[in-house]
Symmetry: C2
Subunit: 257 residues, 2 copies
């Protein structure tokens, strides 16, 4: 049974403003709730229907979390999805630390990714390709937006994600760190040298990498469109930001065998 205040509190967490005030966020759906319970995140409450609690008795018994049984009608009042799910967790937003000073692996840097679906998909791609760190510009969509959490399919709980002033961060790095960025006129990603550590910058969905940030790029790369026999033919003008991220990460990892 949910009180009016609980409903109000949960719904408030769909807005960034209240997530920041309460330092809490939502993870919804059976799979996501199970993943967050297994992660290092601190879960405060799980709201779930009777069936879910019954089916997942082992999880309920082994976790020191407050499980609250709710009706499907109550789930409808708190869901952040288009249709209510069987379980919803409220978890703590961990303290934000600064991004790592030392780059000894591949790191993704996001320059103003605005679409929640894109950010979620990019996090899932990073998780697949063993990229452990993502650094976002301050204008990148909030990681704890329910649509982002949803689209990551649990990958958000396994990756270190930071928000920071990108210009300052990139300028603070050793000049030895490679900074890759995608540009129409860049070197083909299939033939240009790629190192196994460094930064890969992904630009905004419509404007790409910002002018200011592009000054920090050391290696301009591109994903060439395939044009048979070098004939000029019309083709898609660009690739979606998350699609480009997937192709770039795949090629870096292919080289590393």
């Amino acid at each position: 049974m949910l009180s009016g205040n609980q409903v109000k509190h949960i719904n408030s967490l769909k807005q960034k403003k209240f997530r920041e005030i309460h330092r809490q966020f939502l993870a919804e759906g059976s799979k996501l709730v199970k993943e967050i319970l297994e992660s290092q995140y601190k879960v405060l409450n799980v709201y779930a229907i009777a069936d879910w609690l019954k089916q997942n008795e082992d999880i309920v018994l082994s976790n020191q979390v407050s499980f609250v049984e709710v009706s499907l009608g109550e789930m409808e009042r708190i869901t952040a999805l288009s249709s209510p799910s069987s379980a919803l967790a409220v978890a703590e937003i961990p303290e934000m630390t600064g991004p790592p000073a030392l780059i000894n692996d591949l790191v993704l840097v996001l320059d103003d990714i605005r679409d929640p679906g894109n950010l979620g998909t990019i996090i899932r791609i990073a998780d697949w390709f063993g990229i452990k760190t993502i650094i976002c510009s301050e204008n990148t969509v909030d990681l704890y937006n329910p649509k982002v959490i949803q689209a990551t399919m649990g990958s958000a709980f396994r990756i270190n994600i930071f928000y920071t002033d990108l210009k300052k961060f990139l300028s603070s790095l050793s000049p030895k760190v490679k900074i890759y960025g995608t540009f129409t006129q860049g070197e083909s990603i299939y033939s240009t040298p790629l190192e196994d550590q460094g930064i890969i910058i992904i630009g905004n969905e419509s404007s790409g990498i910002s002018k200011e940030i592009s000054l920090n790029v050391t290696d301009r790369i591109s994903i060439p469109a395939y044009i048979k026999d070098n004939r000029h033919i019309d083709h898609a003008e660009s690739l979606n930001a998350s699609i480009a991220t997937a192709i770039i990460c795949s090629e870096f990892r292919r080289r590393m065998g």
Copy 2:
């Protein structure tokens, strides 16, 4: 000025049933309208606000299409998007022919892609990588769904897309045609031989390639997750269907140089 019947007709085209009855579909947004006017599709009407018509006078004068000036309020009544755009075209759905009998290039085959955004993104990826033909199972989401057309960003007008009984189609092909399909236990796409012609099957978002269709696959491939030092660590369980398509197409095209 729009009549009540026009509003009703345009709105009916948001449903597959009425698209099939009228053999018409919608393409919305300034860029898409311009692209469809330049394509081989037969455009019947373009509804646009005064500003758009003024800015695109050359297009209006050079096309034998009925351009109808509408107010922004009227656009709101017919838009298929979350906010009204400046122009919307009604075009004819061309006669469907059968899929090609001869496979002399790379062809994508979609086994029940259900999400409109995924289908649109896959079409855009095909267009980028010079794949000219996509063959969809009969249960794949309708190409002329406004959300699909929107997500293709115009690429739908440059690719041949067929809907057919996949099992029959695949079984009718010469046994010499390579049929690639992605499976968890497949050979790594980075090291397995890939030919420059053949079929690449993309499976359904949640269940992958169906059992029946998997019997036709000649080459089982996979996109390996990157695991450092071969240590077992948790990572994303899977990649989104359009993300997998992007990585596979990119690798095929890389080999073809």
